[in-house]
């Protein structure tokens, strides 16, 4: 586990390398870790100065580095641990209409874990998230919540299990007012309320939109608002249903990175389960992946332990040549399977050295490659073609 000083040093490195945007977001994370109002105030002032700064990037970097250095004197309690947060055992859910059945689901999520939930549409991702959020009943099995939330009644428990649906509900009034209202309900009152809210607004890039209302925000910023609101609630378990659905490529990466850093917070770690169709992006930040097919789960990390998959290489490939030329080129490899879905080939073969021998063969035979990805350890291999 990373300690706070190491974290600040890492962030400083971003500024040294001129990654200002990433650095500043992580700088706010560091400030949030201190949970110190004076730090929040300085951070907000720094942001305002940065927003209005006409000076060059170097000066900004210097200021930020100075600020990060000043944070080192604060003691940050390390709450990061691998303690179990929630445990679902034998969960099954059958719907009266249709033949769909979800389960059996057995998962165990720890503080700081990010679980990715993937699968085709209509295979039970939302159902599983809602069950874990106690928003939907289940027929069999049990869900246990640990830490200090296990004694709470259903309502109070749900204040700690935050479920964000794909289509976030409309809210009214100004963005900042809504965040303040949320914070007040979570016991953040008075001047602290203003500081916490401003920190979250800055953290999620909402500063220029703080006085906007729902209809004035794009879908991406609506999702950022939801995340800002969620983190003000200091959740223990965060369940996100397709949070990347309406985001552009850059925003997807930013949101995922944000989630990763927030989950791994030193002072306030949390568990996150998110469903998404953006497999590769999700896999990059997830500790574990569940693949749902017609309600049945497959845990990717367990599946990859099987011998026949362990030594099998699966590659997603898009070329300009035809299939015959491809098959001729790959003849030296012992191909297990080759499929074409109209646009891309899925090539599977046994080899211990991964993608390297295949790439050599393709170059050797002058195959014109448009796109190639090794999906041997990706949930992509679990999808049909």
């Amino acid at each position: 586990m990373q300690n706070f000083v190491e974290k600040t040093e890492e962030v400083k490195h971003h500024f040294i390398k001129n990654d200002v945007h990433l650095g500043f977001r992580r700088l706010i994370d560091c400030a949030l870790e201190t949970q110190h109002m004076q730090v929040f105030q300085q951070c907000i002032e720094l942001n305002e100065w940065k927003e209005n700064a006409t000076t060059d990037a170097n000066e900004i970097n210097q200021k930020c580095i100075q600020f990060l250095d000043s944070l080192k004197k604060y003691e940050v309690k390390n709450n990061a641990s691998k303690n179990i947060l929630a445990q679902a055992q034998g969960i099954e859910k059958r719907f009266n209409r249709g033949n769909f059945k979800l389960g059996t689901i057995d998962i165990e999520i720890n503080f700081g874990d990010i679980w990715g939930l993937v699968g085709e549409n209509g295979n039970g991702k939302t159902t599983l998230l809602r069950i874990l959020a106690k928003d939907l009943s289940y027929d069999k099995g049990s869900i246990k919540y640990y830490a200090d939330i296990n004694r709470l009644n259903d309502y109070d428990l749900r204040t700690q299990l935050i479920y964000i649906p794909q289509r976030t509900p409309k809210w009214f009034g100004l963005l900042k007012t809504n965040l303040k209202y949320t914070a007040t309900h979570y016991g953040i009152t008075g001047n602290e309320n203003e500081l916490w809210v401003m920190m979250m607004i800055i953290r999620f890039g909402l500063y220029p939109f703080r006085n906007h209302n729902w209809s004035e925000l794009s879908s991406g910023y609506k999702m950022r608002f939801e995340l800002a609101r969620t983190f003000l609630r200091k959740p223990k378990l965060l369940l996100l249903d397709e949070p990347l659905a309406n985001l552009d490529v850059l925003s997807q990466q930013i949101v995922l990175e944000d989630l990763k850093y927030m989950a791994k917070s030193i002072s306030n770690p949390l568990g996150i389960i998110l469903s998404s169709q953006q497999l590769f992006e999700v896999e990059k930040v997830s500790d574990k992946i569940i693949f749902l097919k017609q309600g049945s789960p497959t845990l990717l990390h367990e599946k990859l332990q099987h011998d026949e998959i362990k030594n099998s290489v699966m590659v997603e490939l898009e070329i300009e040549n035809n299939r015959t030329e491809l098959e001729q080129a790959l003849q030296p490899l012992t191909l297990t399977d080759i499929k074409f879905n109209g646009g891309q080939y899925i090539v599977e073969y046994h080899h211990t050295e991964g993608l390297q021998p295949m790439l050599e063969l393709l170059i050797k035979h002058h195959i014109r490659i448009k796109y190639v990805r090794d999906i041997s350890t990706s949930s992509r291999r679990l999808f049909n073609a």
């Binding site: 809602r130 106690k134 928003d135 939907l136 009943s137 289940y138 027929d139 009644n153 259903d154 309502y155 109070d156 428990l157 749900r158 204040t159 935050i162 809210w171 009214f172 009034g173 007012t177 809504n178 303040k180 209202y181 949320t182 007040t184 309900h185 979570y186 016991g187 009152t189 008075g190 309320n193 203003e194 609630r233």
Partner: protein, 568 residues
């Protein structure tokens, strides 16, 4: 400053921020002041002649008030439903729903009760524009002129205008011996534990008189009556004898009665006069003391000037209070003098009883028909005498009396409290449950109530109690679904049942009242008439409302539990 206050509430008092409690209190106080001013402005001496001050609100201002309240609540609802902590599963403070309810019901109560400031505004202005001393003097002027005003705008009583009257107001009977009689007591009043024995006679028969005595020409007949009283606690019957009297008035006394009572009706009754010294006087005393001697003197001397003066003084009073009239005093005076004050019409009755006052049904009908004929004839013949709106004068005095002796109207108060409670409860429910369930619960409740009613009718037992039992059973089924099998029933269905529980609260409150009422009952044994029940507790509207609020407060925490229930 207002923004800062809003900001303070937002950052520190989320419930106050959401309910806009202080803003609504400000609006409510403004509406109270506005209503008071409107009430104050709405009244002048002409308006006071038209209606009772208690009813002015129910004119156009009630409509204005309703429109204002609706507009205020529409604006408020737009702000209130912007934020919803329970919908987002935010932590709720202890007694969240109770606080929410109180912060809604208090301004609601003030907002819907503009009746009171409006009426108080009227009262204050009434006291300012009417002067007590002047009113007393004006009443005397009006009453002194009234015997000579032989017309009114519409119909009028013959007794008020005919001199001498054919029908004395007090009933003076003749008995079987053709003697004048005036009973002093009534005999047919029955009390539950007091039996009056009149020796089996429907009316007094002098034959049973025990004794007679004569005082100042009037003969008093004394006789005994037997009374029986049963004491239930001791089961003891007490017999005792009373001495009652009948008076046989002398001829002189009969004449006196007839003279005195000729102008018996007063335009302004004594009880409406705001004069403390008159309090001890009856109408008759007031009439005799202040009016009758003068009236008789004027009639006897045919003093036209005096009549003119009185009518002129009366018209001055009318003008002062802007009371409409078309009277020309001289015309009336001429009419009275010309007819030698004999403005009476010969009425002949068909009864054979030789009574001055007709007693039989036939005679009464005969009299009514004759009176109507005379009235129509007079109205036509005496049109030219003009009219005055007598009712306007009475209304002024009635309103002044109501203004100085205003009694708080409890009935309206209970209605307004119930309305505010209903409004607040509805808002809290709408805030806590989803809209579709809330709407579905209304017809669902209607169907269940209908079903309960049908069972009650079919069983044909004590219908009201069976109705309540069925309703309770339905509510318990709802609570049972919720608590026993939480996962098997959808949130929507559970919500509908829970709301049914809410709608049943007034019934629960009433039922509880019945139970308390029944518990306070003690049955007492009486050897003479079996058993009888004594109740130690009688319900008051306040008790039922408090009970309803208590039940509502017990019910409100369930909303949080309901919200947390997982969907099916």
């Amino acid at each position: 400053m207002f923004k800062n206050f809003q900001q303070y509430l937002l950052e520190n008092k989320p419930i106050y921020y959401q309910t806009k409690f202080w803003q609504m209190m400000g609006v409510a106080i403004f509406i109270w002041l506005f209503s008071w001013v409107c009430g104050f402005m709405a009244i002048d001496v002409v308006e006071l002649q038209r209606s009772s001050i208690r009813n002015f609100y129910f004119g156009s201002f009630a409509v204005v008030h309703i429109i204002i309240v609706v507009i205020v609540y529409v604006i408020w609802a737009l702000a209130f439903f912007k934020t919803n902590a329970i919908q987002h599963f935010y932590p709720l403070s202890k007694f969240y729903h109770h606080k929410l309810f109180i912060q809604i019901v208090v301004p609601a109560l003030l907002l819907v009760s503009a009746y009171y400031p409006y009426t108080y505004g009227i009262i204050v202005h009434t006291k300012l524009i009417l002067n007590k001393t002047e009113l007393i003097n004006d009443a005397l002027v009006a009453n002194k002129a009234y015997p000579f005003l032989v017309q009114s705008k519409d119909a009028y009583n013959l007794e008020e205008r005919i001199y001498p009257s054919p029908f004395p107001v007090n009933i003076i009977k003749k008995n079987d011996n053709n003697e004048w009689m005036q009973p002093t007591i009534f005999y047919h009043v029955k009390y539950t534990n007091h039996v009056i024995d009149t020796n089996g006679l429907a009316y007094f028969n002098p034959a049973i008189c025990n004794s007679k005595t004569r005082i100042e020409g009037d003969e008093y007949i004394l006789y005994t009556s037997h009374n029986e009283s049963i004491k239930y606690d001791s089961c003891h019957i007490e017999n005792y004898t009373l001495v009652d009297t009948f008076i046989i008035p002398s001829q002189q006394m009969v004449k006196h009665y007839r003279d005195v009572l000729n102008f018996s009706s007063l335009i302004i009754q004594q009880q409406n006069l705001p004069l403390d010294s008159f309090v001890s006087l009856t109408d008759k005393d007031y009439y005799q003391k202040y009016l009758v001697t003068d009236v008789h003197q004027i009639v006897n001397t045919k003093n036209a000037k005096a009549i003119n003066d009185r009518i002129n003084a009366f018209l001055a009073v009318c003008n002062k209070y802007k009371i409409k009239h078309t009277i020309v005093p001289q015309t009336i005076t001429d009419y009275l003098i010309k007819n030698d004050f004999k403005i009476r019409y010969n009425l002949t009755t068909n009864n054979n009883y030789n009574l001055i006052y007709p007693e039989t049904e036939t005679a009464v009908a005969d009299e009514s028909a004759m009176v109507e004929t005379v009235r129509e004839k007079n109205a036509e013949e005496e049109k030219y005498l003009g009219y005055v709106e007598f009712e306007s004068i009475s209304n002024i005095y009635n309103n002044y009396n109501q203004a100085i002796h205003y009694e708080f109207e409890n009935g309206i108060c209970w209605v307004l409290i119930s309305l505010a409670l209903f409004l607040a409860t509805f808002i809290v429910l709408a805030h806590s449950v989803d809209g579709v369930s809330g709407l579905l619960s209304i017809p669902a409740t209607g169907i269940i109530l209908l079903f309960c009613g049908l069972i009650a009718i079919t069983v044909h037992h004590d219908e009201s109690l069976i109705f309540i039992y069925c309703l309770i059973a339905a509510c318990f089924i709802g609570f049972g679904f919720y608590n026993v099998r939480p996962s098997s029933i959808s949130r929507r269905l559970t919500t509908i049942f829970m709301l049914l529980g809410f709608y049943a609260i007034p019934f629960f409150a009433t039922l509880l009242f019945f139970v308390i009422h029944e518990f306070s009952k003690s049955r007492k044994q009486n050897m003479c008439s079996g058993t009888y029940d004594v109740y130690g507790y009688e319900a008051q509207p306040m008790h039922i409302i408090l009970l309803g609020i208590l039940l509502l407060f017990l019910y409100l925490p369930l909303l949080k539990k309901l919200k947390a229930k997982a969907d099916e």
